[in-house]
Amino acid sequence: MNRFALAHARTIADAAARATTTVADAMTAARSNATRPASLIKAGGIDVLDLMKENLLAPDMLVSLRDVAGLDTITEAPDGGLRIGAMVTLGALAAHDMVRRRYPALAAALAGAASPQIRHVATLGGNLLQRPRCWYFRAAAFHCLRKGGGHCFAISGESQYHAIFDNRPCAIVHPSSAASVLVALDAAIELVDADDTIRRLPLASFFVAPGRDTERENDLRPREILTAILLPPPAAGLCTAYLRQGERSAFDWPLAEVAVALVRNEESLCVHAVIVLGAAAPVPYRAQAAEAALLGRRVDDNAARAAARAAMEGATPLPRNGYKLPLFEALVHRAIMAAVAETL
């Protein structure tokens, strides 16, 4: 790891002014301006320090958001939704009373991520902005497409943990467990730049698929701070579920994760369905065929199975990750059943 300076920003504008680059830009030789010193935001530091230790990143300065007031609070919005500061830790969020009551799928996703030690320091903002875990990407020896190289090593190589959808020309899976649920819950995010200009957008449209740009996973701009994640109030009758399956029971990345949000009308027919797959594609993946299979139907075991099968439509598995198809199918079925069981 290189030597670097650590600065503690006091205000959002101060932090934004000092964050000269984003991790994605800093890691891509072509984009980073080598002559100008690079400084990066540090939240919990789990990901950014990891990248530095692997010699993938060598910023001159890290700007810590720890001392910026108001970034680590959870507040109820006037509309009944929730405003979650970007610096709230995964552990704090999973344990938060209102989150557990109103957004149990989110609490479940966070409580199962990584390990207690990591959840204690990792922040929600950092979680959404972390870089992918593709093992080629994470090793300095492989100069792959996502780092500005000319080649994806995974597609023809060790692809067991890679994407089964939209996996060309890069086959990463989006690493954030929070993202899948937040997309299912229709969350928005708030970004603030050095001039205090606020940008609000749906989280789903913040992510960048490889088809658009292989070198970054989101639209964060230099000198921009993610300040909050905004959750709309849960719709009447909303039922949700989150399921994940890793190889190990804890301290592991998911092989597959599924977030489901459903609303049924008085006749028990499904009127709203969002099914998001994590660890499936380079960005949180909306299983629209599965959603369509549920809409207008009574959500019973047969419907759930049909939707689960539909969820895998269009999958393009790589040689070593075909197992994810039956795995996702099982989880989608179970997640749908878990969601409706919750409100029975």
């Binding site: 030597r3 093992w135 080629y136 090793a139 020896a141 492989f142 090593f153 023809s156 190589g157 060790e158 067991q160 943990y161 399956q245 190889e247 190990r248 029971s249 804890a250 301290f251 592991d252 092989l255 598995p317 040689p319 070593r320 990750n321 075909g322 197992y323 198809l325 039956p326 795995l327 199918e329 099982a330 989880l331």
Partner: protein
Amino acid sequence: MTDEVTPEVAPDVAPDVAPRVETFAAGIVGVKLGTVARQIAPDEPPPLPPNDQLSVIGQPVPRVDGRAKVTGAMRFTVDVAMPGMLHARILRSPLPHARVRRVDSSAAARLPWVRAVIVVARPDDPAHAVLRYVGAPVAAVAAVSPGAAEEALRLIHVDYAPQPFIADMDAARAPGAPSVHDAISLPAGHPSGWPAPQDLPVAGNVRGPAISGRGDIATGFAQAEVIVEGEYRTEVQTHCCLEPHAIVADWRADGLTVHMSTQFTAGVRAELAEAFNLPLSRVRVVVGGMGGGFGSKSSLGTYGYLAVALSRAAGLPVRLVLDREEEQTDAGNRPATWQTVRIGARRDGTLTALSVVSYGTAGVAVGAGIGNFAEQTYVCPNFRAMQHDVFINAGPGCAMRGPGNTPGAFALEQAIDDLAERLALDPIALRDRIDASPVRREERRIGAARIGWGQRHAPGADPGPVKRGIGMAQSLWMANVHLNAACAVRIVRDGSVTVMSGIQDIGTGTRTVLAQTVAEVFGLRAEDIVVRIGDTDFPAGPPSYGSRATASITPPARTAAWHVLRQLCSEAARMLNVGADDLIAREGRLIVRDDPARGLALAEVAARLRTEGIGAVAARSDDYGGFRRRMGDAALAQQDLGGVQFAAVAVDTETGIVRVERVVAVQDCGRPINPLLLESQVQGGVLMGLSYALFENRILDQATGRMVNPNLEQYKLAGAADSPEIDVVILENYQGQSATDAYGIAEPANIATAPAIANAVYNAIGVRPRSLPMTPAAILHLLGKSPAGSRVS
């Protein structure tokens, strides 16, 4: 026996004293305990009665260093700091196969904070000019800080000429595959691997077969009424010691001191003396706390050699600690295997023929066989094993917890279950018929009762996607003894007792076991004994590998203590006016056997000593009744170690997840010295076996020869949440073979776990998991649920 001196030789036996015959307890406690008469040397202590008559041995004494470990007080090699100490780093090959054309280290050497540079891969040296795996050492640097050393590495310019390489065992066996080795580089058989014979044929990247056998295999199969055959695969497992390989070398004009995380202080000393042409007496090897070795810290290693050479070159102490990537790629591994097992049997289960053909690879070296599990475990007159080592361009292997037998048992124990099914016999009933070991028979009985074998049902019987199953498998390991193993015991005038040996405690509890053994002799408590070990300035200790530490060191510890006690008794006898033989040691006192009220505290007797203290040194004597085989310092006890494990699993047939819910491990080890430590060893063995069964895999990128998971995030080890309930039962099995009659346990406890889990998975889903690891991908593939064309790693 002399004052304060700890000579390296055992006390000479007075030649005029004849050997004596003693009666020892023999048999399994709770089953059949009889006696055996043994002739023993006159300087051997009297027979040690069974544990129920002892007060310290056999008791669950907590680790004497447990508190220091959990409070962080324990000092490990990485904690050693010396004035002026330099830090070393190794430059490693980025390519799987390359000839080094030029190495220019002048820029690195010119840096003021760099004190020594050594180039390993020298273009002019045919033995070192070619690098054969990613991570092979190229050069090493000692500098004033780790960061400075790292920076210096970047200034070493190497001109590599890439060579064709091969990183897959199957591909390496194919005709025309790129050759990993040339005539000079072909490694000798690894002494701790299997097989190790000399002069085996070599064809391309395959060496072997090493053939072992008995009877006539063709006749055996001709006699068979039923034949089962199966192919099995195991993957490379790395040692993953919590404490990395570490050394601090201090080269001085008057001698070399090396602090090293090692499983064998005496062995490393011998290697250093030879490598650096120093008298043994000028080399000292020291180790304090250790965080595991599992076979990977058995010898000096290239990194150890480099640290010493750098210290010599710089004239300052040098510290070298491997990082996790180096641990994963160049610190040894358990080789992968591919085995074809074929068994012929009569309808009643009697085996007529057993054949195993194996191919195995660790990387550039070696010892990738299947041990003696298939050869020795079952009665079968006709046996043949043909074992092959395959070379690929990856880091070398080395011994790892139950080498050979662990992958060997994975295959054979499943094949035996296969046979039981074909014969419509219960797997335990079949083993009762073909396994001659009375110990394992008892272990099967105990384990079956505890796991609820009677409730075992047919595969797939559960409703719903989660299927439960129960399986069992057996272990076989040699009861190893190291004869070049000695121990000194000393009592000083205040009555305090010290035991000293070069032996190391790699985390197994050797300190505690030594304290207990000596305490038992003096009638003290384990915590009263000062244990000083892990230093070659003490009498040479045995290695802590091959499950031989306790078997090798506790007998001389007891013998030495007994010699000291005898001298104390003569002293006390004069003071009390009784015969020395009338005195016994109890609760810190020497008391008159028939008049326990009369006696003296140890300290009272010790205070009268003419000099500050008295000591004795004893070496490991031969097993009473002799050994089965002896090879230099090592010997094999008459009997093998057994062990039987049972696993209860739940397999989710939709997600492919295998959960091991319960393991019952029944294990023998001769005399159990400390049930608490034994339980901990067995639990460790089970967890390592479970991790091997479900998770671990060295994954090599085929296009670059690079390991893609050289860390502990993507190289998956079982964690706390994956741990089953583990029920450990330790058998007391006396043989009357040494002063303590204790044998090893570390390796046997690891061998049966993976096949027990595999047999349980079969019992759950009715499909046999013939490959490791049993990941969700593998299970879903096995169940035919993955799309056509899918591959599992």
